[in-house]
Amino acid sequence: MTVTTALGDLAALRRQQAFAAADEAALDGLIAVRPPERVPRPDPVWDDARVLVHEVVGERYRRLVLATDTIATTALAGQFLMITVPPTGGERILLPRPMAIHRRHPDQGTVEVIYGSAGRGTTALTDVLVGESLLVTGPLGRGFEFPDAALPTETGPEAPRTALMIGRGVGVCAIMGSVEDAARLGIAATVVLSGRSPANLIGLADCAELGATVIPVTDDDGSSALPALGERLRGLFAWAPPDVILACGAGVLARLAADLGAEWGAPVQVSLEAHMACGLGYCHGCAAPVATDPAVEGPLVCVDGPVFDAVLPDRAAAGREKPAG
């Protein structure tokens, strides 16, 4: 029994390591800092946010609904919070944990966050009770932004503008703000929700509420495998490619999004995760993995991102070689 468990753990670990290596390779040279945003970023605040809901979601995740008026009102799609984990059960967590804002409910003054309990910090967070407060700082970072080409015009285009969103695991949370924006702006959103099993898909109810078309894919039935997913999306969008692609949750998905974007001529934005301490750009803990000269630091995921442009490395090089002007 113990031996079987240990072997099972080891196999899971090896699989995790393989995923991490594939993600790192997929992101190599892929990301670039986005041009300055049109809408200025809201000023971050720190807030003692009361926990209104703290419940289990699926097999591996938990959902928090936090009362925080300012953040609910000002947060832009794809921005994140730093959540300070209070001391519980003798466990002291020093560093706040970055988490994407899953839903914004400005009318109720609340935001939703979904997290998986993986390490010490998120495990300690599961002990927080409804009615208690969490110290949150936000909204932080550069979020997703629909490019002009994806925005409906005043006169109204012939066909509705379309966006393809791809999220995996808790990475779905980073893109859900854009699904909200799409619903508000009248952009037709198609959302790929990827997870290990049907019980671990995040965002089904949210997408239904927001009127987005959902493509659920799982590891269980193999539909989340990159070649299968890529072919399915190529077929689906063969005649009318989306105006923009947004992705979060895995480096390999960012790479798939960049591949599709290159084929379709659609801009691609991806949101990255990183270990970070401050969320404000001063600790420099979260420099993104980009091939650079050792004298130059990569962009910071917390302030230059978490949302970056994703362009295939050879195309980025071709773009740079073009004469200026």
Binding site: L94, A277, C278, L280, Y282, T292, A295, V296
Partner: protein, 324 residues
């Protein structure tokens, strides 16, 4: 015997933070570092602060701010992962990315100046001869310089400059020729004699020493026992290193007449008072600001309140009252 007050609730802390600072009647929290007078003894630890924190907290209430270490030439810093958290504390191997003195002057210094408190510029080097050129390159910017001698010395096979009294002396002598501004020497934890290192700094003309820095550490993953950090080795910080640094501050403050600035695991006014009671004149706050961005401001206000509460004129008197 002193009994620590009960920890206030989150709501009480929030109300306290939102309240306007109490009018200072007679309490004097000021501290002198050479020719520079700070309004109070609380400042951030280098690397754990940036002007962007000014968007969240009233930085003008701090005694000073300390910049991220500026090196002579641009450097990118270490590979990811750059930080992690263990039960023992935070471990970082950020590797001090720097845009060099010119880059600092162009992009960072104006933001620091706008904060409205004295700016202490942290200066780094890999050889004892590299510090003075950085200070020269800063062209008078900054109200004081903190010499970060906790960097591997490339002249001596990577041992810390700050663990070698001769090298400390060389660094301070050379920088002293460049500037009349106050010089603070930031010493590392791993030294054979903190007293010798502090005395070397004092003898060479330093106006203060800062004790100490993070402790070199090697965090491993639980599952595979492989290094977590891209750089393998990082610096341990946080409340658990406090007793280690308290000892060093105690030893250093008995060895020199110049002020000792304590830096190591300070989270609350009580932690700061621990350091003051063993001889520190000022404190730097690092790791605590990540989880509680307002930690430094809370400490300033609580020190003020503690003094007012017992009608102590300053922190020295507050500590004497406790001991009486």
């Amino acid at each position: 015997m002193t009994i620590a007050p009960p920890q206030p609730s989150m709501d009480a802390r929030r109300a306290f933070f939102d309240a306007r600072p109490a009018a200072s009647v007679a309490v004097d929290l000021s501290v002198r570092i050479g020719s520079l007078t700070l309004a109070n003894p609380v400042m951030p630890a280098s690397g754990c602060f940036g002007p962007s924190l000014g968007r969240l907290i009233p930085v003008a209430e701090l005694g000073a701010v300390v910049t991220k270490t500026v090196f002579g030439t641009p450097r990118g810093g270490n590979a990811a992962h750059r930080l992690t958290e263990l039960r023992a504390g935070m471990v970082n191997s950020v590797g001090i990315p720097s845009r060099g003195a010119a880059g600092y002057l162009a992009s960072q210094h104006p933001l620091y100046l706008a904060l409205g408190v004295p700016v202490i510029v942290s200066v780094g080097g890999h050889r004892s001869g590299e510090y003075a050129p950085v200070v020269r390159g800063l062209r008078g910017a900054g109200d004081a310089y903190e010499l970060n001698v906790s960097c591997p010395n490339l002249d001596r096979h990577g041992t810390d400059i700050g663990s070698d009294p001769d090298a400390i002396g060389k660094v301070v002598h050379a920088v002293r020729l460049e500037t009349d501004k106050p010089l603070i020497v930031k010493l590392p934890v791993l030294v054979s004699s903190i007293a010798d290192c502090a005395q070397a700094a004092e003898a060479a003309g330093a106006d203060a020493v800062c004790v100490a820095n993070s402790i070199p550490a090697l965090p491993l993953t639980a599952a595979t026992r492989s290094p977590i950090l891209g750089n393998v080795i990082g610096g341990l910080s946080g409340p658990n290193i406090r007793p280690v640094v308290l000892r060093l501050v105690w030893l250093a403050s008995r060895a020199v007449d110049i002020p000792v600035i304590a830096c190591g695991g300070i989270e609350t006014a009580d932690d700061a008072l621990d350091y003051f009671s063993v001889g520190a004149h000022a404190v730097q706050v690092g790791t605590a600001s990540f989880g509680r961005p307002f930690a430094m401001v809370e400490i300033v206000r609580a020190l003020q309140e503690r003094c007012e509460g017992v009608a102590a004129a300053d922190i020295t008197e507050l500590i004497e009252l406790w001991r009486a």
